[in-house]
């Protein structure tokens, strides 16, 4: 096998991204305490059920960067997996967003808001640039977020 550090064929005009999927299961209740019971029921419907409900979420994380010729990788999956586990999954999996995750004490845990919180937690990944995240709440609902500098500034 020839030396695995030949970069001559890498076209700098081609951008490469790496996408990885993770799963977590959690419960939530969509409820805004500043609204009336009737308004909450009107807006959130069955998601306003007082005792909450849950989903099997799928989180897709996409990062970009140069492919290291020594490893063939943008980021070592072991590093990415460990980072996502530490930054997101440990806090999210098998938890109640409303009660267990401080970011949602006063923020309604819609999947839109989950995306913003997850992006804020992952944007410090030291190995590669976080491009975007996608969260599938169910097989029919998915949300994407690529950051807009407001993440972390939620009310």
């Amino acid at each position: 096998m020839a030396l695995a550090n030949n970069t001559s064929s890498v076209d700098p005009g081609i951008k490469v991204e790496l996408g990885r999927r993770y799963r977590f299961s959690a419960s939530h209740r969509l409820h805004n305490a500043s609204l009336s019971e009737a308004a909450n029921h009107e807006i959130y419907g069955k998601c306003n059920n007082p005792h909450g409900h849950g989903h099997n979420y799928i989180l897709e994380v996409t990062v970009s960067g140069p492919v290291d010729p020594a490893t063939g990788m943008i980021a070592n999956l072991a590093d990415l997996d460990a980072f996502v586990e530490r930054q997101v999954l440990n806090d999210y999996d098998h938890k109640s967003f409303n009660q267990d995750v401080p970011a949602f004490r006063n923020v309604v845990p819609t999947t839109e808001n989950l995306c913003i919180d997850i992006f804020r937690r992952l944007k410090t990944f030291p190995v590669a640039k976080l491009e975007r995240i996608r969260v599938d709440e169910t097989g029919n609902n998915s949300f994407e977020y690529a950051g807009d500098n407001t993440e972390g500034g939620q009310p």
């Binding site: 096998m1 030396l3 492919v67 490893t71 999956l77 998915s142």
Partner: protein, 149 residues
């Protein structure tokens, strides 16, 4: 502009090993992907082309041509092969998802009408994929809400 995607599946084996690193370093960096006898995946390749539909044919690109191109350039080269030893374009490279996707981009781009190749996405498994884009042309992967609640 319309995007058109064709999907193919191929199965291949590979091994991650950098001859410049010691056996211990290879095991540390690549983990079980360094297993001396290799392992394999069912890869799924999505090739997306872009363009305006021809007023005559209504097509961005003739799918039959794209199917034949993918069969000739990718299936015959990679399906049921050992990527380390049977694919010359990967010689000297670690056959990661990133590098295979780049090789596929470089094989396809010259054979597709200029500017039409939008994205190459290669899934190694349902939970891992690499994307290639022409950076200047189309990294406008705008975040979007895909469905209502």
């Amino acid at each position: 502009m319309v995007l058109l995607t064709r999907k193919i599946e191929f199965s291949a084996s590979h091994r991650y090993d950098n001859p410049n690193l010691s056996p211990e370093e290879n095991r540390r960096v690549f983990g079980k992907c360094n297993n001396p006898h290799g392992h394999g995946h069912n890869y799924t390749l999505e090739v997306t082309v872009e363009g305006d539909p021809s007023p005559i044919t209504g097509m961005v690109l003739d799918l039959k041509d794209l199917k034949e191109l993918l069969d000739r350039e990718i299936m015959q080269r990679m399906d049921h092969r050992n990527l380390n030893v049977e694919v010359p374009e990967l010689a000297g490279k670690i056959p990661t998802c990133e590098n295979i996707a780049l090789v596929i981009w470089n094989l396809l781009e010259p054979k597709i009408p200029a500017g039409k190749l939008h994205r190459v996405r290669l899934y190694e498994s349902a939970d891992l994929f690499a994307d290639c884009y022409r950076a200047a042309a189309s990294n406008g992967h705008a975040p979007s809400r895909k469905a209502g609640k």
